[in-house]
């Protein structure tokens, strides 16, 4: 058998040949488009202007003068800031509930997987069915509780669109938190819990001093994964409000889509997309460090 050093070119560079095709595809579809995006962002292409002359940093200047963009960022942050803690707390409470033996536990957990694997656009469509002001069951239930017929316009009323979107978001992703935290709680050292029980520690003390630190790495990973997903929230909004009423529920992804594919402000959209990439990269750095910590 030839040793690696003396083999043919293919044998000597085997490990690079294995990564080569994958890297090529990633460069072609992941990196090259971003380089192209950078170029386009310095041009002045719009629906009516097809010239590819460079216009300097005009598009980047426009970023700072576009209130709609910053509102879209704000909407994204608001939805994240409300949905994420709720998902975390609900998921943790549910994980606590399902942690100990319970008749039918395996079936409950298997059912909880279902919302996570539904396509977000389907979940958005489902919730717009549920929230439909006339044919949906939610207004009907509220009507029963209120004792009179209620016509709440969930997709149109400015006060109700956010609760509607956040409800759909929480329904789909609380089970995600639940499953991760359930696994984490199951891995907490039993002997420590028993020792705390023997010492007569209160439930809260045990939870905050032993359980919480033990599951903190998993919680961090879960929060960061969900935070990234929420940052690019698109499907559920598209199904329920399409960013409306007006631009009230436009997230940064919806805004970018509207600018690029409905208003055809090509070069400006390129600048927006790059802004999104830069903002997210900071978040990604953080996630990578944490994922490695947890491994």
């Amino acid at each position: 058998m030839k040793s690696m050093q003396q083999g043919t070119f293919a044998q000597r560079n085997f490990k690079y040949l294995l990564v080569g095709p994958a890297i090529f595809v990633l460069l072609l579809i992941g990196v090259f488009p971003l380089v192209y995006l950078l170029m386009v962002s310095f041009q002045g292409i719009t629906m009516t202007e097809t010239s590819t002359d460079f216009v300097g940093a005009a598009n980047y200047k426009q970023l700072f003068e576009d209130p709609r963009l910053w509102q879209a960022l704000l909407h994204t942050v608001i939805i994240t800031a409300i949905a994420l803690p709720l998902e975390l707390v609900l998921g943790l409470a549910m994980a606590q509930l399902f942690l100990n033996p319970l008749p039918g536990r395996a079936i409950f957990i298997a059912l909880m997987v279902l919302p996570v694997v539904v396509s977000p656009i389907v979940s958005g469509a489902t919730w717009s069915l549920l929230f439909n002001h006339r044919f949906g069951p939610i207004n009907q239930i509220i009507g029963w509780l209120a004792g009179k017929e209620m016509v709440l316009l969930w997709a149109i009323n400015p006060n109700l669109v956010y609760p509607a979107i956040i409800a759909a978001e929480i329904w789909q992703w609380t089970p995600f938190m639940f499953l991760l935290l359930l696994a984490a709680l199951g891995n907490v050292d039993r002997s420590q819990l028993e020792a705390a029980a023997i010492d007569g520690a209160s439930w809260w003390r045990t939870f905050s001093r032993i359980v919480l630190p033990a599951i903190a790495p998993v919680m961090t990973v879960a929060i960061l994964i969900r935070g990234l997903d929420l940052f690019r929230l698109f499907d559920i909004i598209w199904a329920i409000t399409q960013g409306g009423p007006g631009t009230m529920t436009e997230t940064i992804s919806v805004f970018t889509y509207v600018k690029g594919f409905q208003q055809f402000e090509t070069s400006y959209t390129a600048a927006v997309a790059l802004l999104v990439v830069v903002l997210l990269s900071a978040l990604v750095m953080l996630l990578l460090r944490r994922v490695e910590l947890a491994r």
Binding site: V19, P21, L34, P120, A125, Q140, I225, S253, V277
Partner: protein
Amino acid sequence: MTPLARRRAWNLGLRLTAAVLITLIFMFPIYWLFMISFKTAAEIYSFPPKWYPGSFNLDSYLVLFKDGDATTVGNSLVVASFSTALAMFLGFICAYSLARFSTGGNHLANWIVSQRMIPPIAVVFPIFLLYVWFGLVDTYIGVILLYTAFNLPYVIWMMRGYILDVPPALEESALVDGCTRWQVIWRVVLPMCRAGLAATAIFTFVFAWNDFIFALVLTRTEVATYTVQITHYFGGQSNFWGKISAMSVLGTLPIFVVTAFMQRYFVRGISLGAVKG
């Protein structure tokens, strides 16, 4: 019953009630979606809404098949299957190299997984411009290529973890027995991480199958996937609820079936390998 036993029974009863209630709440939207798809048009648009269909009505589905809209589920199947196969092959050999030879060190591994985090809208916009250039919009190749690239980082990251779980001693003994590295990969490593491979393939398939934004931008009529087709039935006040729900069920049921077989690997799969479950 002793007081302690009574308290335990109470406690269990309360927890069970809470568990049943929570599960019912979380299952209700799925029930409603499926239920609507079996209603007649008159039942869908009846007020107050009915909570169960009068009969097991398949009209909404028949319309989808008669109009040919159901072929979009076929499109989803084609693009998700081919992109999964491609991403699994390229990703698996790449992951092997990263896991066994530490090719490129941590930098390469980190760069690859960071590719996964780029927001789809930021990538799909320039890709659309390039696809227009190359005539790849609304083609199978274009969509498959994009899904492959989108899922590659996930496959590489997950498979690297699963391959690291395989003891290297097994490979070394196979090498001593005269196998080449290439043979070792396929005859020793692949069978050893079969389960992880299957779980990762299913996730990859589900990501492509459930995607909306890429398909919305890059397909028109020929390759439109079921998720894009669903949004064609949206229309202000006159949503076609029967079609929306039937199409959603056609797209969702297969996912429920495949994920039922991977419960054990689910948590590891959705946490990017951070939680081994």
